[in-house]
Symmetry: C3
Subunit: 255 residues, 3 copies
């Protein structure tokens, strides 16, 4: 239905469905996916909706935000944006950043809106895609009023890298909050065997470049296409093997 709403307002818009499998209420997974995808997308209007459920700030604390962020040559990411309700527009200006608290624009006057994606976000995204200025879709909102999402950081100390599971994907790969640089600081080099500890259990993982570097069924630790350190099982599921889930703590150390 969002496609229909967008086409009615902006018939020339080309719409790309990036993903519909962000888990419900999981704003952080949505943010991580969006951040990973942006470099591959044309610098245009991006529409992101994740139902945050009852947020920490309370249900009334949720704002629909239209945000323009620009860096040279790409649709850049500014501080403080929330994937849950960010609609960005990368315009031709450099270094500018403006955000707007988007007002409702119901596509269907006969309906009382319930779905923000269809009734607010899609119409506003279509309006921006059609060339309407950002200022026209809502009241100005100071960038300082946006909240920065807290994503836990991996920490290196005493020869142990303490990392967390940011999310597990549909293949059971576990995406961690660690960087490849931290593995290097830990002293690991490609081809090494590392120990991964999770809830008392110890697992052995090969630190390699690609899945094909290990035999089927073997656990590997690698830098994925979004430059995030991940755990996977060749032709299997690391999430299942470790019994690990989002936010779980993992200790990574030399074998």
């Amino acid at each position: 239905m969002c496609h229909g709403v967008i086409v009615r307002r902006c018939p020339d818009a080309r719409v790309i469905d990036l993903t519909h499998v962000v888990p419900r209420h999981d704003v952080r997974s949505g943010a991580i996916l969006l951040r990973a995808a942006l470099p591959y997308l044309p610098p245009r209007v991006h529409l992101a909706v994740v139902d945050p459920g009852v947020s920490a700030a309370g249900p009334s604390g949720r704002r629909a935000v239209a945000l323009r962020t620009v860096r040279a040559g790409q649709a850049a990411r500014g501080p403080g944006q929330r994937a849950a309700d960010a609609r960005r527009r990368a315009a031709g200006r450099r270094g500018s950043k403006r955000s707007t608290s988007a007002s409702r624009r119901s596509a269907c006057s006969r309906c009382r809106a319930t779905f923000h994606g269809r009734d607010i976000f899609a119409p506003v995204a279509a309006a921006l895609a059609a060339g309407e200025p950002l200022a026209s879709v809502g009241e100005p909102l100071p960038v300082d009023a946006l909240r920065r999402m807290g994503i836990p950081s991996a920490a290196l100390g005493d020869g142990v890298l303490t990392a967390h599971v940011l999310r597990s994907d549909t293949f059971g790969n576990l995406i961690l909050n660690a960087s490849n640089e931290q593995l290097v600081e830990l002293g690991a080099t490609l081809g090494d065997t590392l120990t991964v500890r999770h809830e008392g259990a110890r697992h052995t993982a090969s630190y390699v470049a690609t899945f094909a570097d290990v035999t089927p069924g073997e656990l590997l630790i690698y830098e994925d296409a979004q430059r995030m350190v991940s755990l996977a099982v060749n032709r299997g599921s690391a999430a299942q093997l470790l019994g690990a889930d989002q936010d779980d703590e993992l200790l990574i150390l030399p074998a």
Copy 2:
């Protein structure tokens, strides 16, 4: 494959996939989804296929129907259409209605057609989108020959609203055949607590405007975006909580 068939016949057609998750054989769910979506879609050709399996009229009783329905300003719905095999075309005329029993137009002469969606419906929809007149795709069919789909109605009596589950969606929300007006007639106002009875069990539901008005895990009754009364659990599944399924009867009464 339907996309390919359509593009070959009408290269300029823009194709929007509305849904591919209508349960198999569930013509009624398809009809309800289509009815809900039409106000948000451009008034163009709509292609709807649900395999009805063995229908009440017998396998040979199924007709492929192309239907033009027009109301001022929108793709209107006429009486007697069946979602399973309705292809509509909203033209510029007002109040006109014509239906046609569509003839086969195989896209692939080397194949004996088995899939109606690909081999009959998609080519006909593409032909209509390309501007072919409705009369060209089949024999005229009197509107009276179409069957009206039976959707059970909710009934109010003795202070009880007897409703039925039309369908449950992927979130476990139960969409009922009751209207918000019927809840008002029952004497309910937003914020009230209502009793929902299902197979002997009693549940308490808050009559509210949105999910955020109840705490996680709580049952709510609300008017959804398609203006249908629905039961849901905030961050949960009403279908699971009640153990209710399509066509089940529910009694709704003041607490």
Copy 3:
């Protein structure tokens, strides 16, 4: 993300998603699906990626291949192509065939590529769609260097047709490697009852033209829309009924 990569390189490209449900590592199912779909698609660039996992030739044995195949009037299939990594381009020439070992063209210079679909195949497909010559995307590769996929054949002997399950689809239909001609050779005519033996169990199947020719729950054997002999249960799952899976052997004989 592949859509984004393609649009950035070739803004006018129309992208049709044929399927995303080929089982992981199942190159053969991908090949069968692609072969079945090609006659319905416009003769343009086709991008096919199936992660083959560790192939028989070893992980380093996998080549990314761009292949141009032409037959009169359609995007033809040449010998030796592999669905896993075939990108074809049907040009205006007749009977020509050229293949190229595609070189990497990262869409994102800041990223070390991991996903071949996004970082190699999509950019190359977009380049070909934009009109770049096949020779520009990699080194020439003799057609003889391509491997022909081994798909087991059904064999008729002693009044028994020995067939295999090529794949089961999402409905639980079992697609066999037998042809309708082989059923005819077996002596079967539409309306006959046939015996299907699988792992010692005997099942009775009606040899019919369509699902509607049998009652719900009944096993049928029929020629599907891709002209492949298949087993299905009307409103049910043949895979479940038989407990059969890919590559299983089935014996088909007169009842």
